[in-house]
């Protein structure tokens, strides 16, 4: 197999305890590879360490131990500073309301990145902004609007357009559709599925929602209390979960004929 796009090896993160509290091991020995063009999901509940893992890979958090390689080059890990991956790794966050500068028009927000990173002439930037907006299913007219006049779904589209503007190789989506209404969630999810086909981009998709993960990822890692409990192809894991924790997660998803059960959370 060729060199993976992303290699995460033995990643560990310990948050020192405040005062008398014990140290918190948020991520404990996480390792996985992600191939070019692949979509890998990290699944888990709150406190499982999935978001911390993603933030370390993005360079927003330092690691206590282990390393993260992008194209064989170390971009995060023990002793490595923040934000070393450059524009190759971009991230879309959960909160559609905080993800954009409230006082910056949509067009300006995208143009700013183009101006700083590519030093294109203004006319070229304008054309690229229009192209990016179209790519995420928005109009050119949206370029002149402030985030407050957009709906949650539209804001999330702008956040995606901004991330794509830098032509990253890996896009980290941290619960990117979790805060959206059901009907809008499907729109953004479909957009993400289409974009991956068009752009040959790789996704690291962090989510608690197994149904969403099923649609968007090739492989998934199930995390619990900082540890990867199960990893494999998404279809395999969701159809034939091997670990009790994964089974519990699946059993807790409401579906036709589902009865809530008290035992689900005892682990």
């Amino acid at each position: 197999m060729s060199e993976p796009l992303l290699r995460v090896a033995n990643l560990r993160k310990v948050f020192p305890g405040q005062g008398t509290a014990d140290d918190l091991v948020a991520v404990d020995g996480v390792s996985f590879d992600l191939q070019q063009g692949e979509s890998v999901a990290i699944v888990g509940e709150s406190g499982s360490g999935k978001t911390t893992t993603a933030r370390i890979i993005a360079g927003l958090e330092t690691a206590t131990d282990g390393e993260v390689l992008l194209d064989g080059k170390t971009v995060a890990g023990r002793g490595i500073g923040l934000l070393r991956a450059g524009r190759d790794i971009q991230m879309v966050f959960q909160d559609p309301f905080g993800s954009l500068d409230p006082r910056q028009r949509v067009g300006a927000a995208i143009e700013e990145l183009l101006a700083v990173r590519f030093r294109q002439p203004k006319a070229e930037r304008r054309a690229r902004v229009a192209e990016l907006l179209e790519q995420v299913g928005l109009d050119e007219q949206h370029a002149g609007e402030y985030p407050r006049s957009l709906s949650g779904g539209q804001r999330q589209r702008v956040a995606i357009a901004r991330a794509l503007a830098l032509q990253p190789r890996l896009l980290i989506l941290d619960e990117a559709v979790a805060a959206l209404d059901v009907s809008v969630q499907a729109q953004v999810l479909n957009l993400l599925i289409d974009l991956r086909e068009q752009l040959d981009i790789s996704y690291l998709f962090v989510s608690h929602d197994l149904a969403v993960v099923r649609q968007i990822s090739d492989r998934c890692l199930v995390m619990n209390e900082g540890v990867v409990v199960e990893a494999g192809t998404t279809a395999d894991i969701l159809d034939h979960p091997g670990q009790p924790y994964t089974q519990q997660l699946l059993a807790a998803v409401p579906r036709p004929g589902w009865v809530p059960s008290r035992r689900a959370a005892t682990a």
Partner: protein, 290 residues
């Protein structure tokens, strides 16, 4: 009750005038804005409009009430009050303006720097601000005047230093809130420099709050500077300044010649109340808006 206490009463009144909801023109806001603009204009052109020279004394017509010759009457040395009030507008308004501009600029820089760097830098700066916060501005100004001498710049510099933590503390908490928003991280990931994120994004989002706080501080600075002049530690005679005019006219109050203290006092109160309401309304609108 001291002059300072007396003149602070209307500030409380200003707080009681409830700000209206945003969205529509607010007549009180517009009115106060116009008065403030008028006072700033007065500071600019007032000294040019004086009908008499500032130091032209006329002992025979001292402590007179308004007349056709002297529209607002004369002071105890027979100088034309209208001329002195017009000339006094410049230092009386310029001093708080300088104090507010300088302290807001300093305060915002310190606050954004601390919030952006976070961690230990933030903790140290915050503690230092807390300590500075406990020192009363007037006291510092009085001590500074005693050591460095009276005049315009010494109290202005002293008040600037003591006003800075007021602005910095409020802007600091807003800046911290702003720094925690995910868009700031998205900008960092996109490779924007810290300088650019701070100036183009964080500063721009907290600017309205800083402006509102500065306007509010203007009212306080105006009165603090007036109080320093009242105590005789600001500009020295024969220069005219509203605060010192209140003081100079004090002796005549017993003889019923209330014009000097009253006119200067009214101008101080008017300016303070207008700027105070303007600042509170602006701050309330910003609070509503976000």
């Amino acid at each position: 009750m001291s002059l300072e206490q007396l003149t602070r009463l209307p500030l409380l009144a200003g707080r009681l005038v409830r700000p209206r909801r945003r969205g529509h023109a607010d007549p009180v806001l517009i009115g106060c804005g116009l008065i403030c603009a008028g006072l700033l204009a007065l500071a600019l052109i007032g000294p040019v409009l004086t009908p008499y020279p500032l130091d032209q004394t006329d002992i025979l017509n001292a402590s007179q009430g308004p007349s056709a010759e002297h529209l607002l009457g004369t002071d105890s040395l027979g100088r034309d009050l209208l001329s002195r009030l017009l000339a006094g507008a410049r230092p009386s308004i310029t001093a708080p303006a300088v104090i507010v501009l300088a302290s807001t600029t300093l305060g915002v820089i310190v606050a954004v720097f601390a919030a952006w760097r976070g961690g230990r830098v933030d903790r140290v700066i915050s503690r230092m601000l807390d300590v500075m916060f406990t020192v009363p501005g007037l006291l510092v100004a009085v001590i500074a005047a005693a050591i460095l001498g009276t005049g315009f710049w010494v109290p202005v510099a002293a008040l600037t230093v003591t006003y800075m933590p007021y602005i910095a503390r409020i802007v600091h908490s807003a800046a911290i809130r702003e720094c925690r928003l995910p868009y700031v991280e998205a900008c960092q990931l996109a490779g924007l420099s810290s300088w650019r994120i701070c100036t183009r994004h964080i500063l721009r989002n907290i600017a309205p709050l800083a402006v509102a706080q500065a306007t509010l501080a203007f009212a306080w600075a105006l009165m603090d500077f007036g109080a320093i002049s009242f105590l005789g530690l600001g500009l020295q005679p024969p220069a005219a300044e509203w605060g010192s005019m209140v003081n100079e006219g004090r002796a005549d109050l017993l003889t019923g010649a209330i014009w000097e203290s009253m006119t200067a006092g009214v101008l101080i109160v008017l300016a303070a109340v207008s700027f105070n309401i303007l600042g509170e309304r602006l701050a309330a609108r910003i609070g509503d808006g976000s």
